[in-house]
C-alpha cells in the first residue's frame, strides 16, 4: 500500500492513502500530538473532516488497530526461522558509542545481529542507516541469535 506523506510546515504531517474500496483517506498528525482524520470526496483537494483525536485517544486507537498485528508478526517471524530472536539493548550513560554513528559500532560485522529499529523517547526510527547518530538512553531493537544480541549489548556497554 502506498502512503503519501505531505509536510505541513509549522503544523505537522499529513498521511494520505486509498483504501481497498477506493476511498481516499487522510490523517493529519499535528505537532501538538492531536490527530485529525479526513476523507476526500469528489473534489480531491477538499477534505471532509471525519473526527479529531487527542493524544490519548490516538494512542488507544493505534493500539486497537496495531497491537494484535505486531504481536502476530513477531510470532510468525520466530516460528519461521528457528534460532532467531529479537531483543532490546539500551545505550547506557557513558557508552563509548553515545554521540557516535550506528555504523561505527560495526555491530553486524562483529556479531551477525542487525539493528532493525531505534527507540528514542516516544519516537521509533525503523531500519536506521549506518549514519544514524546514537545517544545515551536510545533503545536499539536487535534481531539475531541470542549470542549475537548479547554481543551487541557488550559492544555498546564498552
Amino acid at each position: 500500500m502506498d502512503v503519501n506523506e505531505v509536510l505541513l510546515p509549522g503544523v505537522g504531517l499529513r498521511y494520505e492513502f486509498t483504501n481497498h474500496e477506493g476511498e481516499r483517506i487522510g490523517v493529519v498528525a499535528l505537532r501538538s500530538g492531536d490527530f485529525e482524520v479526513v476523507v476526500y470526496g469528489d473534489d480531491p483537494d477538499e477534505a471532509r473532516p471525519v473526527f479529531r483525536l487527542n493524544e490519548d485517544e490516538a494512542e488507544a486507537l493505534a493500539q486497537i488497530l496495531g497491537a494484535p498485528r505486531i504481536a502476530e508478526r513477531f510470532a510468525d517471524l520466530s516460528r519461521e526461522v528457528p534460532g532467531l530472536s529479537s531483543g532490546w539493548v539500551r545505550i547506557p550513560e557513558g557508552s563509548p558509542f553515545a554521540g557516535r554513528l550506528l555504523g561505527e559500532t560495526r555491530a553486524r560485522t562483529r556479531t551477525g545481529a542487525s539493528v532493525v529499529a531505534i527507540v528514542r523517547d516516544d519516537e521509533v526510527v525503523a531500519s536506521p542507516g549506518p549514519d544514524r547518530l546514537l545517544r545515551s538512553g536510545d533503545v536499539l531493537v536487535v534481531i539475531g541469535t541470542d549470542e549475537g544480541i548479547a554481543g551487541v549489548n557488550r559492544i555498546l556497554q564498552g
Binding site: 509549522g10 499529513r14 493529519v28 485529525e36 477538499e46 477534505a47
Partner: protein, 382 residues
C-alpha cells in the same frame, strides 16, 4: 514592599477586558489581535480612558512581548520544513514578495514617507500573519486540504525572510547609514547561518545547556539566555527581535518542543500587552486622515495575496477552488506587520496609525473572506 493599588487595578481591568474580547473573537473564529489594538487605542493619551499608573509597565512588557513573539517563532521553525518549502516554493516566495511588497512601497512613496517608512510599509504589506492563518486553517478544518501545504510553505518562507528584513529595518530606523545596515544584515545572516550550523551539528549540546527536566528551570534558562542574546543584538543595532529569533532557531527537537510549551502562556500574555501598546502609541485623532489610504492599501494587497496563494497552490497541482481557498487564506496580516511598526515607529508620524488601521482591516476581513470562499457546502461553524 509598596503595592501600587492603581497599577494592579488598571492592569487587572485591562486583562479582563482583553479576555472578554478574546473570547468573543474566538467565538466568531476571528483573531483577537485587531481587538487588542482597539483596546490600546481606547486607552491611549488623549482618549477616553488614560492609564496613568500602568503606562510604564505596559512599555516594558511590550518589549518583552516583542522578544517572546520572535523566540516562539524561532522555536516553531525546523530546518527540514524550511528545506522542503525552499525546494518547492521559492518561485512562490518571489511572486509573494513582488506582488505584496511593491504596493506597500508605492503607497509609502505616494504618502511622502522617508526611506525607512517606505521600507517598513513594504514589509508590513508583504508579510502575512502565520499565527492567524495557521490557527484559522485548523479552525476551518482545512488541514486535510491539498492547498494547505502550499499556504504553510509560503508562510514559512515569509517568516524566514523577516530574519533578514528586520535587522535592516532596525539599523536604518535607529539612524544608521546604508553601510551600517548592510553590515547589520551581514551580521544577522551570518548569525542565522551560524545558528543553523550550530543547531544542525551541536543542537543537542546547546539543547542540553537550556534543557532541564524541571519545567520551571527550563523556562528560566530559556528566558534568561533569550533576553541576554536579545540585549546583545540590540547593542550591535541588529534588533533584539532578531536576537530572540536566533535563539529560537538554535534550539531543536525535544528542547524546542518543551520550550514552546513553557513559553506559550508567557508569550500570550506579553504579546497581548505588546499589541495593546502599539494601539496606545497611536493617537485616535491621527486615524481618520489615514483611513482612506489604509483601506485602499488593504483592498489592493488583499487582492495581490489572493494571486500569490493561487500561484503557490497551482504549483502543487491544486484545482481552481483550492487555489482560491489558498489565496484568500493568505490575506490576513497581523503580528509581524505590527512588529515592523514597533521597530520603525519612532520618528514615523503616520506609519503607526496607518499600519494599525491596515492590520485591523485585514486581520478582521481575511478570516471572514476565506471562510466563505472556495468551499462546496456551507460548513457548520466550529
Amino acid at each position: 514592599m509598596h503595592v501600587s493599588v492603581a497599577l494592579l487595578l488598571e492592569l487587572g481591568l485591562v486583562l479582563a477586558v482583553l479576555s472578554l474580547l478574546g473570547t468573543l473573537a474566538r467565538r466568531l473564529t476571528l483573531s483577537p489581535i485587531p481587538l487588542y489594538l482597539l483596546v490600546g487605542l481606547a486607552l491611549g493619551e488623549g482618549s477616553v480612558l488614560p492609564l496613568p499608573a500602568a503606562g510604564e509597565f505596559v512599555g516594558a512588557a511590550a518589549t518583552i512581548g516583542l522578544v517572546l513573539l520572535l523566540l516562539a517563532l524561532g522555536l516553531e521553525f525546523s530546518i527540514a520544513e524550511f528545506t522542503v518549502g525552499m525546494r518547492r516554493h521559492v518561485p512562490s516566495a518571489g511572486v509573494d514578495f513582488v506582488l505584496n511588497a511593491l504596493p506597500g512601497a508605492a503607497a509609502g512613496l505616494l504618502l511622502g514617507l522617508d526611506a525607512v517608512g517606505v521600507l517598513a510599509l513594504a514589509g508590513a504589506t508583504f508579510v502575512s500573519s502565520s499565527g492567524i492563518i495557521a490557527r484559522l486553517l485548523a479552525d476551518l478544518r482545512r488541514l486535510g486540504n491539498r492547498e494547505t501545504s502550499a499556504v504553510l510553505s509560503v508562510l514559512v518562507l515569509e517568516d524566514f525572510a523577516m530574519a533578514a528584513f528586520l535587522p535592516v529595518l532596525a539599523v536604518l530606523a535607529s539612524g544608521g547609514t546604508w553601510w551600517q545596515a548592510v553590515a547589520g544584515v551581514l551580521i544577522a545572516v551570518g548569525a542565522v547561518l551560524a545558528a543553523f550550523v550550530a543547531s544542525y551539528r551541536w543542537g543537542h549540546h546547546i539543547g542540553r545547556l537550556v534543557s532541564h527536566p524541571d519545567a520551571e528551570q527550563l523556562m528560566l534558562r530559556l528566558l534568561g539566555i533569550t533576553l541576554v542574546v536579545a540585549a546583545l543584538a540590540e547593542y550591535v543595532h541588529a534588533s533584539a527581535a532578531v536576537g530572540a529569533f536566533l535563539v529560537g532557531l538554535t534550539l531543536t527537537g525535544e528542547t524546542a518542543e518543551r520550550g514552546r510549551a513553557v513559553i506559550a502562556p508567557l508569550r500570550d500574555l506579553f504579546a497581548a500587552v505588546f499589541f495593546v501598546a502599539i494601539g496606545l502609541s497611536v493617537d485616535p485623532a491621527e486615524l481618520p486622515p489615514v483611513l482612506p489610504a489604509a483601506l485602499a492599501l488593504a483592498v489592493v494587497t488583499a487582492f495581490t495575496k489572493v494571486l500569490t496563494g493561487r500561484y503557490a497552490a497551482s504549483r502543487d497541482g491544486v484545482g481552481r477552488r483550492g487555489r482560491l481557498r489558498a489565496g484568500t487564506a493568505l490575506i490576513a496580516r497581523g503580528e509581524f506587520s505590527i512588529v515592523i511598526v514597533g521597530l520603525a515607529g519612532v520618528g514615523q508620524p503616520i506609519l503607526a496609525p496607518l499600519v494599525a488601521a491596515y492590520v485591523f482591516l485585514l486581520a478582521t476581513a481575511g478570516p471572514f473572506i476565506t471562510r466563505f470562499t472556495g468551499t462546496t457546502s456551507a460548513r457548520p461553524a466550529v
